[in-house]
């Protein structure tokens, strides 16, 4: 499953990747291999985010301990757009929460820039499926929030807020409240709010799942453009394989309960891509074939239990005053 390079992470960075890597490699056939396209055996040296043997277990209501994530090993390179797909209940959202530092893994290590994750930090911003914007603040104040927490002076904050709102084409809505916006606009505000804290890593948890098809297409284009312009590392979780192929440099497939890395697919189709591209559809079908077993297992479990698999590690999120 994992390459020798991943098993023995190099201690010394040999070379640094450029912040914005070259995009649009020539298309080539896709085959499930475990290492991405730019990893020539030294992959861990340039890892932005490194997950080593991540396990997460939690106590179910019945009292028994259930394993949600099972020895996840993943290396994400600087500037890479990584998509994680899997059936619902595979723990892919939980994985993002772990990287964000909102929850704690049971065992294993998460490194960001070589440093272990110990709680939330503004170098990794999570974009939630239900956007998580603050309804008591205006659009502008929402975007400002992270910078305000950092203690940035007001003038600078407002300057940046306007910049990021322009980036997501919402400059006119600075004074609006969240409930006055459409679903797609809200997700764009969430992206602007995340970018405004200038994180190195954007963690996106099925951000477009609740949107209609047209809005989603548009946001795919915008996200790709913003990624190109800002050079961020993006880890994007979705259950939509075609979306993953449309966006990702690499697609990682997780198994159903417990979540394990089943296979990885480097996507080398030229950008910009479209959801309807035959090449995108074809690649998606290959991945779907692999995924089908897992989906069936997840559906089976749903029918048998009569309960939707729901992974919620019991972690207190109270005030740490």
């Amino acid at each position: 499953m994992s390459s020798p390079a991943q098993k023995f992470p190099s201690q010394f960075p040999i070379e640094l990747e450029p912040r914005v890597p070259a995009r649009g490699d020539p298309r080539s056939r896709v085959s499930p291999v475990s290492v991405g396209r730019r990893a020539h055996g030294i992959s861990t040296a340039t890892s932005k985010v490194g997950l080593t043997d991540i396990c997460l277990s939690y106590r179910a209501q019945s009292g028994e301990r259930l394993l949600a994530l099972d020895h996840i090993n993943l290396q994400v390179k600087t500037g890479e757009f990584l998509c994680v797909v899997g059936p619902s209940g595979c723990g892919k959202s939980t994985l993002l929460h772990l990287i964000a530092g909102l929850h704690q893994q049971t065992s294993g290590q998460i490194l960001v820039d070589g440093r272990p994750v110990e709680g939330p930090g503004t170098d990794r911003i999570l974009i939630f499926q239900e956007h998580g914007l603050f309804p008591w603040l205006t659009v502008g104040e929402n975007v400002e929030f992270g910078m305000k927490m950092k203690g940035m002076p007001k003038a600078e904050r407002q300057e940046k807020t306007r910049h990021y709102l322009r980036l997501v084409h919402l400059a006119k809505f600075e004074k609006s409240y969240i409930h006055q916006l459409s679903g797609g606009m809200r997700q764009r505000v969430a992206i602007a709010r995340a970018l405004a804290t200038e994180p190195d890593v954007l963690l996106m948890d099925e951000p477009f799942a609740a949107l209609d098809a047209q809005t989603r297409d548009l946001l795919h284009d915008e996200l790709e453009r913003i990624w190109n312009e800002t050079g961020r590392t993006i880890i994007f979780v979705t259950h939509n394989v075609r979306e993953a192929v449309r966006l990702g440099d690499r697609v990682v497939l997780l198994t159903f309960r417990p979540g394990r890395v089943k296979s990885e697919f480097p996507i080398q189709l030229p950008r910009p891509r479209h959801l309807e591209d035959p090449a995108v559809a074809g690649t998606a079908r290959e991945i779907l074939d692999e995924l089908r077993d897992e989906i069936n297992r997840s559906l089976e479990a749903e029918y048998n239990d009569g309960v939707k698999p729901h992974i919620d590690p019991e972690v207190e999120e109270g005030v740490s005053a």
Binding site: P120, F134, P135, W136, M149, Q180, T197, G318, S320, A321
Partner: protein, 253 residues
């Protein structure tokens, strides 16, 4: 228009009934005063500044007492909501204490603080603290988890997380509790003021009784109702409307 008409009809009927009963003189005027008598008392009370002073003193007390309740109640409620041990132990105590009328604390308050304003404030705090605490606890639990997570994710922690995220996020869920706390504070205050020479509205009410002046008693009762109503209708309704506008909750009207 229709609503205004209904109001006018109802209140003029009530007023007419009162006048009729008073004019029939079934009971002597010192037991059952006429509306004019009450109006005269009101006028006289404001004229010689008794009512102004009483209102000022009472409002000051209720603001201090209620303010203490809100601050303490928020801390307590947040503590109970985010700590399992506190929730299991203190949660039940808080609920059972709420069945105790706040004036029951008066004898203890007298012993602890002496016959002065602090004893009154203590009764006011005890009257409203529990509602605020329970409201805060409930609000903290009802508040969607995602706000806390998003706040921490964006770099808020400790007091900043409470002040900029948890408190505003739970406001729509605690505003009715805050309102209830206010009502309890107001009632506790008037009760406590009636028990001792305090200059407040409660004492002015008792003064009416001592002078056998029922017009004055009813005049003060009307004042107490009016102040309670105005605070409820202006301050809390305004707050609710403001929250509805921001959050986009459907307004009641």
């Amino acid at each position: 228009m229709k609503r205004a008409a209904r109001y006018i009809i109802f209140y003029s009927a009530l007023f007419g009934l009162w006048t009729l009963l008073a004019e029939l003189k079934i009971w002597p005027p010192y037991l059952f005063p006429t509306p004019w008598g009450v109006a005269e008392s009101l006028y006289a009370g404001f004229q010689d500044h008794t009512y102004w002073i009483a209102i000022r003193v009472s409002m000051q007390r209720v603001l201090i007492g209620y303010g203490i309740s809100v601050v303490l109640g928020m801390i307590l409620g947040l503590g109970v909501a985010s700590n399992k041990f506190l929730e299991e132990t203190m949660g039940g105590l808080l609920v059972s204490l709420q069945s105790l009328p706040s004036i029951c604390w008066w004898p203890l308050a007298l012993l602890w603080f002496g016959l002065n304003q602090n004893a009154i404030l203590f009764v006011v705090v005890m009257g409203s603290l529990l509602s605020v605490t329970l409201a805060m606890e409930d609000g903290r639990k009802q508040m969607p988890k995602i706000f806390g997570q998003a706040g921490r994710n964006l770099g808020a922690s400790g007091f900043k997380l409470f002040w900029y995220v948890l408190l505003p996020a739970s406001l729509p869920f605690i505003v009715s509790g805050l309102k209830q706390g206010w009502a309890f504070a107001w009632r506790s205050l008037i009760t406590a003021e009636m028990l001792y020479l305090s200059l407040g509205l409660g004492q002015v009410l008792m003064m009416g009784r001592d002078l056998n002046d029922m017009s004055a008693v009813i005049a003060v009762m009307l004042l107490i109702i009016a102040i309670g109503y105005v605070v409820d209708g202006v301050v809390f309704k305004g707050m609710e409307r403001h929250l509805q506008n921001k959050w986009g909750l459907t307004p009641a009207s």
